[in-house]
Symmetry: C3
Subunit: 464 residues, 3 copies
């Protein structure tokens, strides 16, 4: 008995499946490149064990607790906000009893992978097996080798990026580098807190940015210098990329004078919503300009209506499973930025979307023309078997494979990383196998493409 079948996610047709198996065999053991995600550098800096199964599987995984919440299980019962879980076994049993809710979801695939591959469990999680699971996991995570650095190595990770505020001292990253450990944990420059005036504590953040850099961040030019300064600091600790999570993909291309005036208005605290949007738009273009100069790859993750549920936000804060995608336009929104920097071959801008309608309509045509553009993998809700398949089906014919940037796991659930990369590799193998079976591609080419999608294109796009 096993939770995982060797042929999972491969098409049922026997011919296609055997092709998929061969393609997958060529890539399954390649190292993991994880160039975008939300693991914590402190894990690798301090290398301390995980406290209990709930801290490992439930609390850090909004995919898991939002599904339970959607069925009327309160976040209190799940002890979501608790620093220390008072009754982890009780929470675990709730999770186990409701495991059927995850049928047909990628969470199920990721969880089963970790249960079997990391913990040796082979019987399905349910009310009946809840305690068996709890005891097995509890025992295993108490073992001395069950620590972040060892898991990094066991998982075959070659490099992993975190996501960090410009105000972060990156102390953990400094310690990792100083420790002599061979793992590559890279910071990513995510400046939302100092370029999006709607973010909490924005004015305080601007002041702090000034204090850290010794620049006058209340002056437009000083503010830009301060940002450059921090980008360089990130680069010095291995960063190769920036990341931007605005609600829309809107960019602007204002003159210096207009930018100065807008910045003053923003700092005055009297900017209206459209001025705040314009400022975010202009700052994307400024970030692109800096990327052209300093070579940091730029990532854009737009389209999430954050904290849609005000009651949950008030009680629990952000990232509680209540971020909902919204329609996102790219063709108009990116026009100002692309008009300025779109033809720069030295510049790389990786685009993501939560709006799948943009794949074939906007993103593939844009990436199939502009030298600077690459398409990031299916993101968040779409990082799933069907989501990956739709991405390849809707993007490939116009953008080709080589305008995409391989896979991102984008997770804070550390144990799910190998599982997520495995799903991606399997789905790419399945897609390529179909092309081969339908004589749209030869098998030797498919294997080359699979290798590129898994490794080469990630390395190149992220300059790892």
């Amino acid at each position: 008995m096993a939770l995982l079948h060797e042929d999972r996610l491969f098409p049922a047709d026997a011919t296609t499946r055997s092709i998929a198996r061969r393609i997958y065999a060529a890539i399954r053991s390649l190292p993991i490149l994880s160039p975008h995600g939300h693991t914590s550098a402190s894990w690798f800096a301090h290398n301390t064990p995980f406290p209990d199964p709930v801290k490992l599987f439930v609390q850090p995984d909004h995919y898991v607790f939002r599904m339970l919440y959607s069925h009327g299980i309160s976040l209190e019962e799940l002890e979501i906000a608790n620093e220390t879980i008072s009754d982890p076994r009780k929470v675990w049993r709730i999770f186990a009893r409701n495991y059927h809710l995850f049928r047909g979801t990628p969470s199920r695939l990721w969880l089963d992978y970790a249960f079997q591959e990391t913990f040796g469990l082979t019987e399905r999680l349910s009310e009946k097996t809840a305690d068996l699971y709890y005891d097995t996991i509890e025992q295993r995570i108490a073992a001395p080798e069950f620590v972040p650095r060892k898991l990094y190595e066991d998982f075959g990770i070659e490099a992993i990026s975190t996501t960090d505020s410009p105000l972060d001292t990156l102390q953990d990253h400094i310690e990792i580098r100083a420790s002599g450990w061979k793992g590559r944990v890279l910071p990513t420059f995510r400046p939302d807190s100092v370029v999006d005036s709607a973010s909490e504590g924005f004015l305080r953040n601007i002041a702090q940015l000034g204090a850290i850099t010794g620049e006058d961040t209340h002056d437009w030019k000083g503010y830009l210098r301060a940002l450059k300064n921090r980008r360089n600091f990130f680069k010095s600790l291995g960063a190769t990329a920036t990341d931007h999570g605005h609600l829309s993909a809107r960019t602007a291309n204002l003159s210096v004078q207009e930018s100065e005036r807008l910045f003053s208005k923003i700092l005055s605290g009297n900017a209206d919503l459209s001025e705040q949007e314009l400022f975010r738009a202009q700052m994307l273009t400024e970030m692109a300009r800096m990327s052209v100069e300093d070579g940091l790859v730029m990532q854009l993750h737009p389209g999430s209506f954050r904290n849609h549920n005000p009651d949950i936000f008030r009680r629990y804060g952000p990232n509680m499973g209540a971020d909902i995608p919204s329609p996102t336009n790219y063709v108009e929104a990116l026009h100002p930025l692309l008009s300025q920097f779109g033809n720069e071959s030295a510049f790389t801008l990786i685009l993501f979307t939560l709006d799948e309608t943009a794949y074939s309509r906007e993103l593939a045509p844009l990436a199939g023309h502009y030298p600077c553009l690459k398409l990031g993998p299916p993101w968040w809700f779409h990082d799933s078997p069907e989501g990956i398949q739709r991405f390849r089906e809707m993007v490939t014919e116009t953008a080709g494979f080589y305008n995409t940037a391989g896979f991102n796991d984008d997770t804070r659930a550390f144990l799910s990383i190998p599982a997520r990369h495995d799903v991606s590799r399997r789905m790419d193998s399945a897609f390529l196998a179909r092309l081969v079976a339908e004589h749209r591609l030869d098998e030797d080419e498919a294997i080359e493409v699979a290798h590129a999608l898994t490794y080469d294109l990630v390395k190149k796009a992220y300059r790892l």
Copy 2:
């Protein structure tokens, strides 16, 4: 020879097909729950036979006559508006001669099902077999047992809901209950005519609502009391749900004072389009508030641009196949209502869409978070094999199966009901079989899920 193949709609791959067969075998004979539709309570109250084949298959089915109309066949030729069909055989021959137009459409599947299962016909409908069909159907519907109550029983219906105006006396429902007949025919509270000020005769309807309930419906509070009163009347006759068919999904959350002012403006007849939209928006939130109190499940069917063809509307009125879907936003539109009632576990709001782009982008993420939300099945143009498949593919990975509400036939074509449920059961079996064949779900789980989708989830979501 047969119109229907035992394996229809199952994937061609032999392994997957045999799994689909086994799943389907476990659910094919389950009772039909039809919690949303447009059959007429008077059929069951009076139990009178159907007059002729055209009245049975052409006149009540806008899927059928709009397709004929799109090929230049006039509604006059089809006698669409005639109380009595003057030459039903002639109309039937037109239909038969054009039956090839329905190739590849769900109508073809539904019609063939009724032709074979209800009338024993096995040769394809065409110009050549037109009269054979006409004679066979005519003879059969003249038989004493071919009456609505008997068909209800033969079809294996356990409960069926109609859709009714708050101004309706529900006399037919009263008579059904008084008759001693065991069939469950339930009214549904659909208040569009008294909450949407753009509906025909709105001010007259408000006055009539006052007359029926003895409330002063020109006063905001009296108006709300009158609505509650009618909801309770519907409940007393078995209603478990309300239904709302606005053009957009917009909701609002005004104060009592603002609502009062807006209502006065609406009653004055001077409200502009945006005030009318705001009033509809506020009334959705009011209906939600009442649902929280009285337990009626709320259904929202937005996004239809009704009566797009003004000439047809002028000559034939509504529901003539000229209602066209339009883009529908949910994430912004529902925010006011969900901010107020989204976390109420006792409240159920079932969402439908004619805009499939909302499935993976908005609806699944919303339903995968808010406890009150469930997703209704693919609706209208999307109640079809490909439509059902897209729904499951785009919704399941984020919302899971258990945040959906099973199937609705939503029809006024009574004979199509078993056919529609059969298509749905087959397509769900096919989807689940693929998950099993690809080792994403075990077969015992798939059978459990199929049962839930066919029966348990409908019963639970609609509180039947």
Copy 3:
């Protein structure tokens, strides 16, 4: 060894594939009807040979050079703007070296088809085979029979339409007709340059239209007469259709007085963007009115944001692979035109889209109701295996097969024409084979439908 497999594009499942083969066998050799495209009438008028492989495969094909450009290869290197290619072998080698970029794209299928079927090449194009290809193609195109008229015949073309300005003298079309050659090359009336006031040289064009027709084109009525006059001229040379390429699908239905006033404003050069949009909208309705009268079929190709890359546009002009689709609404936009002419059976309006979300949401419901509407095939970025499959899957269930208008190749790459029609025939066979394998259609019906999609519906929709 071969570039093309006999079963390419057919589903891998053995049962389905064998059905697909039988359907395809029934249609593969039908004549090619090419009712919309961008070949040059001068080719057929002058019948001169093609100069070199680059002029044949790279320069006229924006699918090809935009992909190379997206990977940082400059348009200078590709000699895109050069009248005479200075070093065609060098350009060819660049193309060959980067041929892997086209993996998974339709260009790869079209190119391989031409390489094998027209040039007898059987080894894959690559850096290694670049010169073999170059030499083979160079030699073959120097042969006396490698001329446009002979290729037209070899390709099995029965009729081909060009796309022409109302200001064109159609001299090439006149010469073709005078030559006694049997080929049917038909002009198409594409009036964008004289109805879209945003087009370059608009006012000059209006004056020229007056000069050609002897009408006062600065008077609304004279302007309309001039357009009618040119339409009749096009008809006299075999035109059966018009074509319209506006950014949006918006139509209007102004009174004569309003139209006159708007036209004056447009001619004054002072119209703002919304007045220019309104004028385009009104002109679509005027074109429809003329079509009702003169019987020319109307085609609408909306939704392309032209020349998105200003630097490329400035240096190279239009059609450089930098046209990006944008979201397109039909249901509101077409309402004015359809309210006026939607029920005219004698009028045919063929709709295209670059926004696939409109297929099931708007286009299929519109075409499934209005007698005047037919749906054109998947266009441009969506003229591809996956694009064709999505089109059939999203359109057929609501509009049926018979509200579609068969295939268009829409190309300026002459050699790709048989390849494109072959892909379309194969994908339609594959789609129909699935319906047969799933018992949704009988095989005899599928073959009839395939014939209709390939030939009959094109002939009928375009009145060829």
